[in-house]
Symmetry: C2
Subunit: 465 residues, 2 copies
C-alpha cells in the first residue's frame, strides 16, 4: 500500500510522509483507520524503524494521524470536517500584490471604488495644523524614538483602551508602523515557520500573503455575518493544532459585519481548549458604535493580542498603529521591532500624540462616523438599483459587500471597469479559498459615484439579443 | 575515525556531518586530505551510501570539503585562512539588544558617550519649520503613500546620487524606514535562510543580529583602516560561497575610517569572481568629504545595492532611508515592503522632500560637518590626555575609535561608567568574533564631556599601591 523508491534523491522518510498524507487526504485511509505498526511498515517499505517513527511524528504534527498509547497510530478524527476549510495549493501572490499596488499607486484610477481608504477630504480635520507647528518647536524629530514608542502616547492610548473596557497599561503597548507592521512582528517573533495559523474567509486580503511570506501555514475558517463559523473553527483547531487565530471581530473587512458577543465568547472558549493565541484586528474601532464588544474586553489580554491603527481615521499617510499584549509578549515584539526597523518615527508618534491629546479627535471621529453612515445608506440604495444585492445592510463602517447577479462575470466586469479607470475589489481577492467570485467590496465614499453606478447598471441589465 | 551512534535520536547523517566538521575544524583532517570513498565510509560507519552522499553534499555546501570529479572528496583548500575569520557559536543577542535599548530609551544616561546619534541641538536647523507648515496645507497625510515612495522625493534623491557619480533614476529607489529597514528587506527578499553573508569585523553592531534573526549564516571578515582585508575576503568567499557582502566603505562604524579606491576595486573584483552581491551601507555620506569614493560609483549598481539614510543628519526621529538597486531587484524589495509594513509614511516622506527641495539642506550639512570636525579634533586630544589611544586620527565622521591601556578592563570600566550615567560603547559589541575588547567607540559630540574625561583619566592612571 505504501510505495517508496529506494534510489530516489528524495529521502525515504519524506516519501513516506507524502505517501501517507496523500492516502489520508484522498480518503483512501479513512478517519480512525489503524496504521500498520512501525516495525511492520519499516519491513514492508524496506526502511529503518527510525525513519518510520520520524515520519509518523511528522504526520502527527500535521494533524493527520494520532498516537493512541499502547494501541498504535490511527488516522486522526475530525479530519474530514476540517478538510472543508483546507487550502488548495497556495494561491499566487500576484492578485494581492497587483491590487494593493494599484491601490497604493493610484495610477490611472478615476473611481477608486474598491479602495480601503476614505478620501483625503473626509479626513482633513483629523490632524490640526497646530499639531505640526508644535512639532517644529518640540525638537522631537531630532531625538531617537523610544523603541517601544513615546511613553506619553502610550499612556494616551492605554487610557482610550481602558475606556473601551480593555484593561491595559502603557507598558503593554508596542507602537508600530500601522497594523500590518504589528502582524509582521507577531508573525516573526511569536510564531515560527511551519506553524499553522487560522485566518478568516473572507478576510483582510493582504494578511494571508503576509503570513505565508513568513513560512506560516495559513488555514482559512469561514466567516459568517456574526463572526467565525465556530464548528469549522473547532474542526480546524483540532486538525491543524494552530498557534494563532487572526480575526477581525469589529467591522470586518470586506463584509463590514461585526461578531456578536456570543460568538466572541465561543471563539475564546475554543482558543482556550486548543491552546492557541488570538490576534484581534480592531483597525476600524473608531468607526464603530462606541460600545462594541471585543475579544480583548472579555479575555483581558490573556490569550488575545489587540491590534489597533489610526490609518483608517487619520489617513494612510501617517502609518501608525499598535499591538497591546500581555507582559511576557512585550519583549519579543520589541526585539522583532529592533531587528526589523530599529525604531519607530518620533515625528509620526508626536503627531498622533498631539491629535489624541488635542481634544478635537472625538469630534473628528463623530463627524466621520456620521458621514460614513450617510454615505453608506445612499450608496447601498444606488448599488441596489444598479442590480447588486448589498449584504449585511445593518452593518457599520466603510465597506459595502455586494453580490452580483448570477449572469455577470466578476472577472470580466472588473477588467472592463479598470479600462475605464474604475478600480473594483473582487470578492475572490478576500478569500484564501478563492470563493466569493460573485461579490465585490465597495468603499462607501466612492460607491455612489455616477460613473460607477452607470457602469454597473449597464452590466447587470439583462441583455436580450 | 568517524564515530556514529546507531540508536541515537540524532539521524546518522547529522552525526556524520558533525563528526567530519569537527575533525576538519580541529585540524585533524588537514587541508587537501582525501576522505574515504562513500562506499568505504558507509560500510565503516554502518550507514547507507545514500546517507553518506547526502552528508558529503552538506559538508560541501558548508565549504568544508570539495568533490574532485573522478577522484573523490577532499578537505577544502583555503579552509584554514578562512577559519581565522570563522564565527564561534552565535553570540547571545543580549548585549546588542541591551545596548541598543539603552541607547534608544536613554534612561538614566547623563553622558551618552557611546551614542550613535548627534545631539538634537546640532540637528535643529535641518528641518525648517516651513516644511511642517506646508505639510499641514498639503493634505499629504490623508493620502496613502506610494508603495515605492513619493516620486518627487525619489527624483530628488536620484539627482543627489547622480551628483555623487552614482548613475540611478527615481525608479531604482525604494524608500524605507531607515537603513535598518532596507537591510531587513534585502535579507528577507534577496536572501534565504541558510545563505552565508559576509559582514565587517568590527562593524555596525545591530546588523549581524538582524541577519542572524532571518536565519542567515553571518561570516565576519576583518576590516582594516582602509577597507576590508581582501585576502580574508577572498578566503571567506571561497569557503562559504556567500550570497552577499555588507560593507560600509565610507565613515565606517565604529572606526570612522573609509575604504580606499583601490580597496573598493578589490572588493568588487572578488565579488565578481565569486558571484556575490554587495550591500554598501552609506548612511554617513553627508558627513564625509563630498568627493568620496563608493562601490556604487565604480560598479554602477550592477552588483551593488546602495543604502542611504537621513537619520544621521536630520535626526533619528524621522526614520527615513532608501535602497538604490538595479531594475530587477526593485520588485522583490517592493513585495517585501508591502508584506512587511504595507507602505511608507507619506508624512515623513513629505518632510524629507521639503528639506531636500528647500535649499537649506546644503548649508545644514556643511555646518554640521564643520561642527563634527571641530568636536572630533578637540575630543581626540582630550581622550589622548585621558590615557586612551585614538585610532584613525585622519578619519572623518562622528566616531572616535579608541584603545584603552592594557591594564584597564573595558568590561569593568563600562559597568562602572553606567553606574555614573555614562553610556560607553565597548569595542567587543562591534565584533562578531568578540575581539576589540580593549577599544571603545566614542561619539565626538559627547567625548569631550568633562565628567567623561575625568572618569576615564581616573581609570587609566596607573595606581601604585
Amino acid at each position: 500500500m505504501f510505495q517508496v523508491v529506494r534510489n530516489s534523491p528524495k529521502p525515504l522518510g519524506d516519501q513516506l510522509v507524502e505517501e501517507v498524507s496523500r492516502l489520508i487526504e484522498s480518503g483512501r485511509l479513512p478517519e480512525g483507520h489503524r496504521l500498520p505498526s512501525v516495525r511492520q511498515l519499516a519491513r514492508r517499505a524496506g526502511v529503518s524503524a527510525y525513519t518510520v517513527t520520524t515520519a509518523f511524528q511528522r504526520l502527527g504534527a500535521k494533524g493527520l494521524i494520532e498516537a493512541r498509547p499502547g494501541s498504535g497510530y490511527f488516522v486522526a478524527r475530525f479530519r474530514r470536517q476540517a478538510a472543508r476549510v483546507e487550502l488548495g495549493p497556495a494561491p499566487s501572490l500576484d492578485p494581492v500584490l497587483g491590487f494593493t499596488r494599484n491601490l497604493l499607486e493610484q495610477e490611472r484610477v478615476v473611481v477608486p471604488a474598491g479602495s480601503g481608504f476614505l478620501p483625503a477630504e473626509w479626513l482633513a480635520d483629523g490632524i490640526p495644523s497646530s499639531a505640526l507647528s508644535r512639532f517644529g518647536k518640540s525638537g522631537t524629530a531630532f531625538e531617537s524614538a523610544s523603541l517601544q514608542g513615546d511613553p506619553v502616547l502610550r499612556e494616551l492610548l492605554a487610557e482610550r483602551l481602558r475606556l473601551a473596557n480593555i484593561p491595559v497599561a502603557a507598558q503593554h503597548l508596542v507602537i508600530t508602523y500601522g497594523a500590518s507592521h504589528a502582524f509582521e512582528l507577531i508573525a516573526t517573533t511569536l510564531l515560527a515557520a511551519g506553524d499553522a495559523v487560522l485566518v478568516e474567509d473572507p478576510g483582510y486580503f493582504v494578511l494571508p500573503a503576509q503570513l505565508r511570506n513568513r513560512g506560516l501555514r495559513v488555514i482559512p475558517v469561514p466567516r459568517l455575518a456574526d463572526g467565525l463559523d465556530l464548528e469549522a473553527l473547532e474542526a480546524a483547531a483540532q486538525l491543524h493544532k494552530p498557534r494563532m487565530l487572526f480575526t477581525q471581530t469589529l467591522i470586518h473587512n470586506p463584509t463590514s459585519t461585526s461578531a456578536s458577543a456570543a460568538r466572541c465568547h465561543g471563539i475564546l472558549k475554543i482558543a482556550e481548549r486548543y491552546g492557541f493565541l488570538v490576534t484581534e484586528d480592531h483597525v476600524y474601532t473608531d468607526l464603530a458604535h462606541p460600545h462594541s464588544i471585543s475579544l480583548a474586553q472579555i479575555d483581558e489580554l490573556q490569550r488575545v493580542i489587540y491590534v489597533g491603527s489610526f490609518t483608517k481615521v487619520l489617513g494612510p499617510g501617517l502609518r501608525i498603529g499598535f499591538a497591546a499584549v500581555r507582559d511576557e509578549l512585550v519583549r519579543p515584539l520589541l526585539e522583532g521591532k529592533l531587528l526589523g526597523v530599529l525604531s519607530g518615527s518620533a515625528l509620526v508618534e508626536f503627531v498622533l500624540r498631539e491629535v489624541l491629546d488635542g481634544g478635537k479627535y472625538k469630534r473628528h471621529i463623530e463627524r466621520l462616523r456620521d458621514r460614513v453612515a450617510k454615505a453608506r445608506a445612499s450608496a447601498a440604495q444606488l448599488l441596489t438599483t444598479a442590480g447588486l444585492t448589498v449584504e449585511g445592510a445593518g452593518a457599520e463602517g466603510i465597506f459595502l459587500w455586494s453580490r452580483l447577479p448570477p449572469h455577470v462575470d466578476a472577472e470580466r466586469l472588473s477588467l472592463d471597469a479598470q479600462a475605464q479607470g474604475i478600480l473594483l475589489a473582487k470578492g475572490a481577492l478576500f478569500s484564501p479559498t478563492g470563493q466569493f467570485n460573485d461579490c465585490l467590496r465597495f468603499n462607501v465614499a466612492y460607491a455612489a459615484d455616477p460613473a460607477l453606478i452607470q457602469f454597473l447598471s449597464s452590466r447587470t441589465a439583462r441583455q436580450t439579443i
